[in-house]
């Protein structure tokens, strides 16, 4: 590496001296001021935006968890009452349990499907077909979740839906998709996974592309074939991507709302009611904004705990080249 390129601030090289001599160069007073403040000036809009639209609502939400407030009347301080009520509310408990089950099943399916398809597309298909599938799998992600869910409601209608009509052709009787706890949970997970696996798929495609071909060649020379190559080469070397994909998938799944809300409104019973749905219902339907905030705070703590645990565990399972 040449000195000129290794000293961009120009303390010893010719170009550096030229810059220092310039009245606005980094060596000048104005340059030093610019160097110190310019990054902050560029960051300022983002910092201000995050402060107003992210940090402030978080602080306000935490504060609101200690008040009873219905938007219309003045808020009343109630201490930890909201948290106590929330913890005792069976609907909230069930919704958190549903969310955990949903996360486990949906994320496993999402990552499994994304990884499987990424390997398939990357390995076995011609380039033009690869491009097609990348677009096709990513496409559901850009659709509105609410629109997709409305459409899916028609598809999965027990009496008049296309899915049951297709099943009837092969002699399978109508399945009560959206009117039984198991059926509705299955549809919600199915729709969610279909719509979201494209993002993990793209991450895996990127991850696979970064694995050196030489590593596979070396594995082949050592006698590895087919699944063994994937097991001993692809999966370990893809583990950093898997970590990122799983962290993002889990955080997203913990906040699932649109699909169960539009497809089933949380029913039948509480079978598809999720934590964020309960927050929405508490705040905007029951006008209990304090309770909604309390549930939000609890959910945030859970998300933080799970993410921290993931990163901690990742030390054991993530391998870097």
């Amino acid at each position: 590496m040449s000195p000129a390129t290794s000293t961009p601030t120009g303390t010893g090289s010719e170009p550096g001296r030229r810059q220092a001599a310039h009245k606005n160069g980094p060596g000048s007073k104005r340059g030093r001021v610019q160097q110190r403040w310019l990054p902050w000036a560029f960051l300022a809009p983002t910092i201000v935006g995050m402060g107003i639209f992210t940090l402030l609502p978080i602080v306000a939400s935490i504060a609101l968890a200690f008040f009873r407030w219905d938007i219309i009347s003045a808020p009343t301080f109630v201490g930890f009452d909201n948290f106590a009520e929330v913890v005792q509310d069976p609907t909230v408990r069930v919704s958190f349990l549903n969310t955990i089950v949903f996360v486990v099943v949906a994320v496993a399916l999402q990552l499994g499907l994304a990884l499987g398809l990424a390997i398939m597309v990357q390995e076995k298909l011609p380039a033009w077909l690869r491009v097609f599938f990348r677009s096709a799998f990513f496409f559901p992600l850009i659709l509105s979740a609410a629109s997709v869910s409305i459409f899916m409601r028609y598809l999965f209608n027990e009496q008049f839906g296309v899915v049951n009509w297709l099943l009837s052709i092969v002699g399978i009787p109508a399945v009560p998709w959206l009117t039984t706890p198991t059926g509705s949970a299955a549809v919600v997970i199915l729709v969610y996974v279909w719509q979201n696996f494209g993002f993990s798929f793209l991450l895996f495609i990127g991850g696979l592309a970064s694995i050196p071909v030489e590593t596979y060649e070396a594995a082949s020379i050592d006698g590895a074939t087919g699944w063994r190559k994937h097991w001993f080469v692809t999966l370990p070397l893809l583990s950093p991507t898997t970590l990122v994909a799983s962290v993002m998938a889990i955080i997203n799944a913990l906040q699932v709302f649109d699909q169960p809300y539009v497809l089933t409104r949380g029913g039948p019973g509480d079978s598809t009611r999720t934590a964020v749905m309960v927050i929405f219902e508490s705040a905007f339907q029951r006008l209990e904004f304090g309770q909604a905030s309390a549930i939000g705070v609890i959910l945030t703590l859970i998300i933080m705990a799970i993410t921290a645990a993931q990163f901690r565990l990742s030390k054991r399972f993530v391998f870097y080249q």
């Binding site: 409601r153 009496q159 009117t179 029913g267 039948p268 019973g269 009611r273 905007f284 029951r286 006008l287």
Partner: protein
């Protein structure tokens, strides 16, 4: 050379940045009215803002009424704001967020579902205005059934004037009925007659035919069956008061003695044996394939399915007629009958009208709008087609249903006249929580065995207790 290039480059960059900055400032300045919402018609000019549930097209459709109003009250400027929503609950949520944002409308079109929420927290009573303009309003009340008015009474005060309404009557497909070899059901058919009708329809029609279709919601779901069985999932009581209205406008009405200061729903009633009985009846229909397991939602696909002869019967109000007509049904293809009788033949209805917000800038102007909207002139402009049932009895006439049906359109208003105890949708101020508690348990209650039904009703009772725990 390089220095020159550098200076040139710097100059060019600086110029570009200046031009960009100037451009941003220019564009911002040019779009300032849009950014601040100042270009919204009527904003900031003290217009009376009126919120309705609907699309921009619905707002535009009200322009004729606004024009007619402007002829009577040129001094009052009006703007109608249509708010799109999935259902009334969603609409009220949006109104509440407008209140929270400090931009509440002055007048809101509110249905029974939100009447008590608004009366308790947001709306201004109409009592003083009705007393003041009693002579003018007498004609309106003579034309409107007192049951509709009572639905908007809350703790002795009246908060809205009914403009349109709908009862849960029973629509039936005449083709499916005749295939089953049946005649029009009698006015006082019972729930057992209804079941026999469904069974006959199922037998006579194709495999994919559904004899009874119903959706899981507060109107037209399980509630009409509860009312017919002389019960409800909430204990219904009435407030004292309201004599000023009943004696002033309905003194000679035969149902005067039934009237009150408004409905109250203070306690859950899901553990009532009759509630169990009603749910068990519906569970039987589902189990025997006579009725569907109810899904959540408003049943928007229903009109098409009914019009294609795939559904035999469904509970709905007069709002369905125009839709069926547009879907290609003639007046001979469908008809309507009273809801089947059980212990009573009490029906369920919902109504809607304008509420003046407590925060309205000019309540007198708002009252003039409410008063004008209840006039025959305004209502005839708003309801040119049978896409709802007008609150004025005189407007529910042959002319409205001509060429569209149903043949027995008189059923709509007769529901109130024949069954004066017919009651509104049970909607206390905590309506949203109550509705959630009902809906979330209905599907479970009617989709399994008797044990599942009992568990669902126990769960509903508990959820309702939670929903109603804080009384206003």
């Amino acid at each position: 050379m390089s220095g020159t290039n550098g200076a040139l480059r710097e100059f060019t960059r600086r110029s570009a940045l200046t031009a960009l900055g100037a451009g941003i400032v220019g564009v911002t300045a040019a779009s300032w009215p849009r950014l601040t919402g100042a270009d919204i018609p009527g904003r900031g000019d003290n217009s009376l803002s009126i919120a309705i549930m609907g699309t921009a097209a619905d707002a535009a459709a009200r322009q004729k009424v606004i024009d007619a109003f402007a002829k009577v009250h040129p001094e009052i400027k009006v703007k109608v704001q249509a708010i799109q929503a999935v259902d009334w609950k969603d609409f009220f949520t949006k109104i509440l967020t407008m209140v929270a944002a400090g931009t509440p409308p002055d007048v809101v079109y509110v249905a029974t579902e939100g009447a008590q929420l608004f009366a308790e927290k947001l709306a201004h009573p109409l009592d003083e205005y009705l007393r003041r303009d009693a002579d003018h309003m007498r004609e309106y009340f003579e034309d409107v059934h007192p049951s509709l008015v009572e639905a908007f009474m809350y703790k002795g005060s009246l908060f809205q004037l009914p403009i349109d309404w709908n009862a849960a009557n029973m629509y039936y497909n005449t083709t499916a009925l005749s295939k089953a070899g049946l005649e029009r059901p009698s006015d006082n058919w019972t729930h057992t007659d209804f079941r026999s009708t469904l069974a006959a329809m199922k037998k006579a029609n194709p495999k994919d035919f559904t004899p009874y279709y119903w959706t899981n919601r507060l109107f037209g779901g399980v509630v009409p069956w509860l009312y017919a069985n002389d019960t409800s999932f909430l204990k219904e009581t009435k407030s004292p008061g309201g004599e000023w209205l009943w004696d002033g406008f309905y003194a000679n009405d035969p149902s005067r003695s039934l009237r009150s200061g408004g409905y109250q729903w203070l306690e859950p009633n899901a553990d009532d044996p009759r509630v169990f009985e009603s749910f068990d009846y519906l569970r039987g229909l589902v189990k025997d394939g006579l009725g569907v397991r109810p899904e959540e939602g408003g049943g928007s696909a229903l009109i098409g399915l009914f019009a294609s002869n795939r559904i035999g019967t469904t509970p709905a109000g007069g709002y369905w007629v125009q839709g069926l007509h547009e879907a290609g049904m003639t007046e001979n293809d469908f008809d309507v009958q009273f809801f089947p009788k059980w212990r009573t033949q009490r029906h369920q209805f919902g109504t809607a009208g304008y509420a003046i917000m407590k925060t309205a800038k000019d309540k007198d102007a708002a009252w003039e709008w409410v008063k004008f909207s209840s006039s025959r002139e305004a209502m005839q402009i708003v309801f040119p087609t049978p896409n709802t049932t007008p609150a004025r009895r005189s407007m529910v006439n042959e002319q409205l249903y001509a060429g569209k049906g149903p043949r027995n359109w008189k059923v709509f208003y007769d529901t109130l006249d024949r069954f004066p105890t017919t009651g509104p949708i049970p909607a206390p101020p905590q309506q949203a929580a109550v509705e959630t508690a009902l809906m979330k348990n209905v599907s479970l209650a009617v989709s399994g065995d008797e044990r599942q039904l009992k568990d669902a009703l126990t769960s509903m009772q508990r959820d309702l207790e939670l929903a109603l725990r804080r009384q206003p």
